[in-house]
Symmetry: C3
Subunit: 160 residues, 3 copies
C-alpha cells in the first residue's frame, strides 16, 4: 500500500513564519505516513536554512548584503499577517508551546530525522550571493529547477 | 469519462478575501464539472468558517482571545493587496455584483449544495482555542493533516 | 520518456514581482525539459499581461478604473516583502542582471518562444472591465475555470 502513496514536494518560497510552519506540518505528517517528501527552499524561504539565525551582512555586493541583512535568518521570519513589527511569531510560538504543538526548530529537526530531503535553490543562492556554507547542515543538496521538477514527477507539488 | 477526472483538494491557509474567492471559484467550477472536491481550512482560513461573522473574543487564554478578535470572521477578510484599511473587499464585492459574479456567502452556499467537503484543521482550532461549535454548520468534519493528505491521493493539492 | 512527464499548470494569481519570477522560472525550466506548460493568469496576475506597462485608467466604471490604475502594469509589480514603496523590484532586477539571471520581460519572451500556453482568466477580465485588446499579443486565449482545469488533468497545478 505504501508504494501507491504519492510523493510530496513542497516549494518553500515565502519565508513567512506561519506558512513555513504549515509547510513543515504537512511535510512531517506526510513523511510519518510513509510518503517520500522533498522540501525545496527558494527566495525568502532560504532564510529558514541560514546557519546564522539572526540578521547578518552576508554576500559580497552591497545590494546582496542589504537584502540578506533585512531578510535575516530563521529567527526573523515575519507572520504573513498581524506581524506587529515582528513580535507576533514569538507570541504564536508561546501559544503553540502551551498546546504542545511542535515549534519551528523542533519541526526542522523532526523533518531531518524522518528522512525528508531538504534542498536549496541554486539560482536563489546565486542571486543573494550565499554559499553552501552559509546554510545549515541539514541541507542535502543545492539544486536547480530541473532537479526539483524531476523529484516531483510521482507526486504533488505544493507551493507555499 | 467522469471517473478519470482528478479530485481537487484546496488548502485554504490564507484568509485573504481575494484568495478565498479564487479558492471557491476553482472549487465550485471543479465540482460543477463532476470532480470530487475537498476544501481544508487552516490558520487564517478558519476565519471564513467562524459562525460569528464579525470580530469576537473567542478562546480561553488572553493570547487566543486577542488573535481571534484581530483575525475576525468572514466579514473581516482583508484583500491581499490594496486593502485600504478593510474598505476594498466591499468595493470589490460591489464590482462583482455589478457583473453578476457570485459573492463569498453565495459561493459558500453553492459549495455546500454541490457536495464539496468542507474540513477544518484540528491543530489550528486547537492553537486558536476554537471549538467545533464556533464554526458554521457546513463544516463536515474537523480533521488532522493525515486525513487531508489521504483525501488528496487521487488528485491535485492546491495551496491558497 | 518525454511522454511520461507530467504537464505543469501554473495559476498566476498574485501579481507580486518575486512570485511571478518564480512562476516563469518554473515554467521555462519545465518547458525546456519537454513538459507541456500552461500559465493561467487571474486577478493581480493579469497586471503582468497588460499591454500598458505603467498605470492607466482602464475599464468603464469608476471602481474598475481606480483598481486598474492602482494595480498598474508589469512595471508596477510589487515585491511580496521589503517592497520599500516599489523601489525593490528594480534593485532586485539589478542583482539578477549582475548574475546573468533572466529578467521578467526576457522570461515572458522565453516562455512564448518555448511554446508555453499563456491564458487569461475570463471572469477576472470581466470584473476589472478589461478587454482582450488591453492584453499583450502573447496571450493565447481568454478562458474560464473549466478550461484551465481540463488543461491540468494530466499534471500538476501550482498556485502562485
Amino acid at each position: 500500500m505504501s508504494e501507491s502513496k504519492k510523493d510530496i514536494t513542497i516549494v518553500c518560497f515565502s519565508g513567512d513564519f506561519d506558512k513555513i510552519l504549515a509547510a513543515f506540518t504537512m511535510a512531517t505528517g506526510a513523511a510519518a505516513t510513509n510518503r517520500k517528501v522533498t522540501m525545496f527552499f527558494t527566495f525568502w524561504g532560504l532564510n529558514v536554512l541560514k546557519k546564522e539565525q539572526g540578521r547578518k551582512w552576508l554576500g559580497q555586493g552591497v545590494m546582496a548584503k542589504v537584502f540578506n541583512f533585512l531578510m535575516g535568518g530563521c529567527k526573523n521570519l515575519p507572520l504573513s499577517r498581524l506581524n506587529f513589527g515582528g513580535i507576533s511569531p514569538s507570541l504564536m510560538t508561546g501559544m503553540m508551546k502551551k498546546h504542545n504543538v511542535a515549534t519551528l526548530p523542533e519541526l526542522i529537526e523532526a523533518a531531518h530525522a524522518l528522512g525528508i530531503r531538504i534542498l536549496a535553490c541554486e539560482m536563489a543562492l546565486h542571486i543573494l550571493e550565499l554559499e553552501r556554507d552559509d546554510l545549515i547542515e541539514e541541507v542535502a543538496d543545492v539544486v536547480g529547477v530541473a532537479t526539483f521538477l524531476n523529484a516531483s514527477e510521482n507526486g504533488h507539488i505544493i507551493f507555499v
